[in-house]
């Protein structure tokens, strides 16, 4: 929405979109990056959905054990042993 509404400006009143295009970046290069980014984001999104669903199906596990008392102060000698 913001991108469409701003047209024909990149920076409103100062820089038009036509003037901000890199003339030396070819259409093929842009297509390559567009396809690459779309592919990687889509596949990562799918993996994420899969992992989310798996975690949700597992349900909540209530621990009956009491949390052991450990110091979280990194300057404390016993911390991160």
């Amino acid at each position: 929405m913001t991108e469409i509404g701003r047209q024909p400006w990149t920076v409103f009143g100062l820089l038009t979109t036509a003037a901000s295009v890199s003339p030396n970046v070819s259409v093929e290069e842009l297509l390559f990056s567009l396809i690459a980014f779309t592919t990687i984001y889509t596949s990562l999104a799918l993996v994420l959905v899969y992992l989310f669903m798996r975690e949700i199906r597992k349900g909540v596990v209530y621990s009956t054990q009491e949390e052991p008392q450990v110091s979280v102060d990194p300057f404390d000698k016993g911390a991160y042993e």
């Binding site: 290069e29 390559f32 991160y80």
Partner: protein, 336 residues
């Protein structure tokens, strides 16, 4: 000194910080294939850089951001001219970043192996491509009068730039092995040392070859040899010194020395570049100097104030994180 010159130095320092810090986690990423023999060792390696790698990467973002804000013409020329290589770097870094988190989420071996390969490729491609990028900038790119790079394949990929890429990759790899020595225990630590003792000769050979080709391909020895020659000599001394340090098993010192070596190498590139930010292979009239590329004085003034105010905090929390995670990774209680 003008503010623009100060910002050129700041950007050089940011890139030095990036290669110093992310350099070792790239190296550790490479060693997941070359050093680790099983899944446990691979996990130990990943855990050794687990708390640090993302903060290290911020140095690259800051360097890019500083270029964008302080030298918009430098940023525009370089990032448009190197569009494809930088897209590949970005893809590699995206893949690498998620792999650290995802690899342990499934028990299946195929799942882990796939993400491990992404970590390896994502660790070896960025230092190589950055090496290629910086050396080809030093060699000169076809920049026209409008500050645009219209480059062919051989402008990006040639003997000199590939050698630069290999050199940077080897520097990071050695740095990573030395970090593994510092941060792990047992067999892994011993083997990291053995491998570092071999890799160091490859590093020295490739550094010397790189400097030799720089003499032919660039004006490294013409413009200000009184600085570059001592830098090179010192660099070679540092790496020879690491051979001795490794023989005596001085882990902390050899890691520090390799950090200094990386700083000297990146410093050498920026010293050769100064006061230009991009070199034109068409005509020296098309070279872009930092003065021509800089933002207005007011922008630089605001940036300087903001940077000086925030820098102590950023440095503080990064040092803090190294302090908190100072223990060696022992193969137990691992997160990744």
């Amino acid at each position: 000194m003008e503010l623009s010159e100060l910002w050129f130095i700041i950007i050089a320092v940011l890139f030095i910080g990036f290669f110093f810090l992310e350099g070792f986690d790239f190296g550790v990423g490479m060693s997941t294939r070359t050093l680790a023999r099983n899944d446990l060792e691979r996990r130990m390696l990943i855990n050794s850089i687990g708390p640090f790698w993302d903060a290290n990467e911020v140095w690259l973002l800051t360097a890019g951001g500083a270029m964008f804000a302080a030298f918009p013409h430098w940023y525009a020329t370089m990032f448009s001219g190197y569009y494809v290589p930088l897209v590949i770097v970005l893809l590699a870094l995206i893949g690498r970043g998620v792999s650290f988190e995802f690899r342990g989420k499934e028990k299946a071996q195929g799942w882990k192996d796939s993400w491990d390969w992404v970590i390896f490729i994502g660790s070896i491609l960025p230092p190589f491509l950055f090496g290629v990028l910086f050396t080809s900038i030093l060699r000169g790119m076809p920049i026209n009068g409008e500050m645009h790079i219209y480059a062919g394949f051989s402008d990006y990929v040639n003997v000199y730039s590939v050698l630069g890429g290999v050199t940077v990759t080897l520097l990071c790899y050695l740095h990573g092995l030395l970090f593994v020595m510092l941060k792990t225990e047992g067999d892994l630590r011993v083997r990291a040392r053995k491998q570092a003792q071999k890799v160091i000769y490859a590093v020295l050979a490739s550094l010397v070859a790189f400097v030799g080709l720089s003499y032919v391909e660039t004006d490294m020895f013409v413009l200000r040899p009184e600085i570059t020659v001592p830098l090179i000599a010192l660099n070679v001394v540092v790496y020879v010194f690491i051979i001795l340090l490794l023989a005596k098993n001085k882990e902390g010192l050899s890691f520090t020395a390799s950090g200094i070596g990386i700083a000297l190498t990146v410093g050498l590139l920026f010293t050769t570049l100064f006061p230009r930010v991009m070199i034109s292979s068409i005509s020296s009239a098309n070279d872009i100097t930092l003065y021509a590329a800089a933002s207005g004085d007011y922008s630089l003034k605001v940036m300087t104030i903001v940077a000086v105010t925030l820098l102590p905090f950023v440095l503080g929390y990064q040092i803090w994180s190294y302090y908190v995670f100072r223990k060696r990774v022992n193969g137990k209680d691992m997160i990744y």
